[in-house]
Amino acid sequence: MVNSGDSQHLVVIGGGMVAQRLVEALRARDDAGRYRVTVFAEEPRAPYDRVGLTRWFDEGPEGIALGDPALWADPLVTLHTDRKIESIDREAKTVTDRLGHVHLYDELVLATGSNAAMPPIPGNDLPGVFVYRTIDDVAALRGWVEEKRRSYPEGKPVRGAVIGGGLLGLEAAGALTALDAQATVIEFGTHLMGVQVDLGGGQALKRLINGKGIGVRAETATSQMKPHRRTGHVGRLDFADGGRLDVDVVVVATGVRPRDELARAAGLPVGERGGAVVDLSCRTEDPHIWAVGEVACIEGRCIGLVAPGNTMAEVVVDRLLGGLAEFPGADTATKLKLSGVDVASFGDAHARTEDAVEVVWADPVAGVYKKLVLSDDARTLLGGVFVGDAGPYASLRPMLGAELPGDDPSAFLLPEGGGGAPGLELPDDANVCSCNSVSAGTIRGAVTEHNCTDVPGVKACTRAGTTCGACLPLVKKLVDTELERAGIEVSTALCEHFEMSRAQLFDAVRVADLHSFSDIVARFGQPDSRGCDICKPVVASILASLGNGHILSGEQSTLQDTNDHMLANLQKDGTYSVVPRMPGGEVTPEGLITVGQVAKDFGLYTKITGGQRIDMFGARVEQLPDIWRRLVDAGFESGHAYGKSLRTVKSCVGSTWCRYGVQDSVGMAVELELRYRGLRSPHKLKMGVSGCARECAEARGKDVGVIATDKGWNIYVGGNGGQTPRHAKLLAEDLTSEELLRTIDRFLMYYVRTADRLQRTAPWIEEVDGGLEGVREVIMEDSLGICADLDAAMARHVENYEDEWKAVLEDPEKLRRFSSFVNAPKDADPSLAYVEERGQRRPATEQERASGVVIAGPKLEVRA
């Protein structure tokens, strides 16, 4: 390969997170296109979020996708996957890949990362012994556990052990638990996470880990792994103290070794404990070879964390572009990402600084241990350990090396709401997002100079909080403070008539017990307001959610958007579509015939919807009552396709017919759809029920997804399609049908009450204090004490449901709304025009109207 034009060729060996960051940073800064970059990855895939590997179990590959995939489509970027580099020729400035191809480079970056270390324990090569480093490792582990489970009689657990009680070991133990295997963590040292956490924290952590059903054996050395007599698979661990443990699977997570073999072979100096030695500019002895991430031995050591690796990537990019950046030292702050276990530490967690003072707050009953390490005058923050409540971590970590305000540092450790902690004013250079090295000053600048007015804007502008998200609460606080300071009011006002947000207005209306728009606007709106197209539908939705009778009754009818007003879906030509409910996607042959006959008689275009029902298009206002009379007579009811309300509960055919189904998914879907039909909400709601883990109902693409297990139902929440597709996240497992209904009742009601206008469930969950975990606490642990109230509200909804269309057909005053023209109530809109396509009619385009190919005006009806 020859260099084209003036551009230099940068070769990156390794396709991990740090390599991705390097390419990202280069493409963001190298406006002139001075470098073409080629990345050689050993794994057969683009870089992914290795830190979040455990999420792969829950969310699949997309859960650990990293950055914007468009990066790899950049014409100046080439990514070769499954293409290990075998050697470097420093003289010729070339690298040779595993296929024998030779590539010239001008600059070379080693980003080869690490290997999982395998300690020399006899038996470490037995089948069933795994490491935990790559997607392939995790996939193999899962396959093994599932295979073992299948080979066992029902109910016999798969027993797992993890050797190594560090950060990675605990994540691996979490992964085993997620696979429904038992897990015991074997730790050689005195306590878990010995690198990051002191003994007191380690003991609190052990209690938390035990609470997750994971066993812990500390101060235990594994002397050998013994094969099972019959299978030859790993079957038992023998310990130096004479103890033993029967196992079906072992994960070794004792540490990592830098992948420095290329550097060694190329004659580059390596550190005492491995790693390519680099200076503070991340350059090796060879002026054209750099090393970043775990393979770099910087300041005498290799660092196995992503944040310092990202910093090194930024340093190299700066240098390549002629800058003088230096590695500022590693931020070794860590936070364990294991669901339900809060552990974080930063700085000098072990108080090794001379004369350091430790302030400890411990609540063994609650499993909480918090410690600050301070300078001898108890003012400067040197480090901290948080177990069981990492709340203070986000705001204290950036204060590392700074003086804490106030006289009593212990105030920072008191439980939330204990009061007394002085407000922290972060210095501008405090590093808020360690993953992406974003300082407090940069975040403030996003507000003051780049006019960002909310957290999503700041995230997009600065990348703060876009990797692990641990700093988001702090980012939000900084943004809010800065907006306030700039005099920019963070307005949550609905519109010019209401200063309240939807959630506030909902509560106000509920508590004040108001039942009409006039009363609501008089009490809570601006003086002399009459509302508008924004606040009226919001109030309409609130009134409907609180149960105020038919949505077209009295003044409520003036608030409805045309869809709700006509109880049908407005289409582009001004006609409407009609969707009768087919709960769970179930419909009788007679029902199908009725729908077909109605569509035929009224000349409607029919199409199956994504929600497993039938949509009939092209109905005119004055036809709607006639159409619905036929449908209601045949036993159909409104499908609420027009409402911000429950649409459908999609289902697979489930255990009643399917060979693989483990529960009756259709029955459950029908029950759910009939329970929540008509529930008005801030946005449309969709649900799905799958009868087994194959997930044919695509339930995880729904706001509420239910997936059958052999023990009951798993519930996932916050999924949606649309512009920003999201997979729903696991809320609870193995619920009985009764527990499932109660959980969904509360989830929906909590959402209905507290979400913003037109806010779907996914962004709502993100905004709830504590995110998904916060939602879980509110609806499953009743942390706000509102569950009884939510239950009662849903019970009222279920009790008061009536079919909206049936009610309209029975009320002449409501029927009067369905006239085409006030002076010609049955005349069709003369502007409508249709053409035929694939055997049905559709609105004519402008060109078709102009060229006269229109086959039918509005009046052509085939109705008998």
């Binding site: 010019e496 008539h497 006039s518 606007v521 008089a522 002399d528 307001s529 009459r530 509302g531 508008c532 197209d533 924004i534 606040c535 009226k536 539908p537 003044e555 009818s557 003036t558 608030l559 409805q560 958007d561 045309t562 007003h565 006509m566 407005l570 582009k572 030509d573 001004g574 709304r817 006239s819 085409s820 023209f821 006030v822 002076n823 010609a824 005349d827 809109d829 003369p830 502007s831 402008e846």
Partner: protein, 147 residues
Amino acid sequence: MSSDDMSEAQVAGTTLVSDAPVRWERVCLLSDLFPERGAAALFGDVQVALFRLPDASTAPGQGADGAQVYAVQNLDPFSGAHVMSRGIVGTRGGVPTVAAPVYKQVFSLITGECLVAADKTPKGDLPPNLTTYPVEIRDGVVHVGLP
């Protein structure tokens, strides 16, 4: 409503080309119009959207009889469909408005001016503002003035 009331010029349309001759058409009874909603009316091929609001000069709840009727074109310039009568009425800065039901543009009911374009442009060559028509209520019968 007495004819004296009528003489107080309940003429809402103000953008009507000044001296163009007006053909007054009977539309319906005032009571045929739902308060704070619209209705379409058909005159040959011309479609007009009528809106019945409480009197703009009085606070809500007062002057129950002070109904004010506005008329604009029923054609929504942003979708090309005849649907303006189905929009939600409201106010922006005290000006009575209607929002297009398709893409939610907001128009003044007094001048027909498009106040909020909602990042859209009108369809084809249609002007963004609505034509307004004068309305009179004579003995409880709504009349609209067509050019």
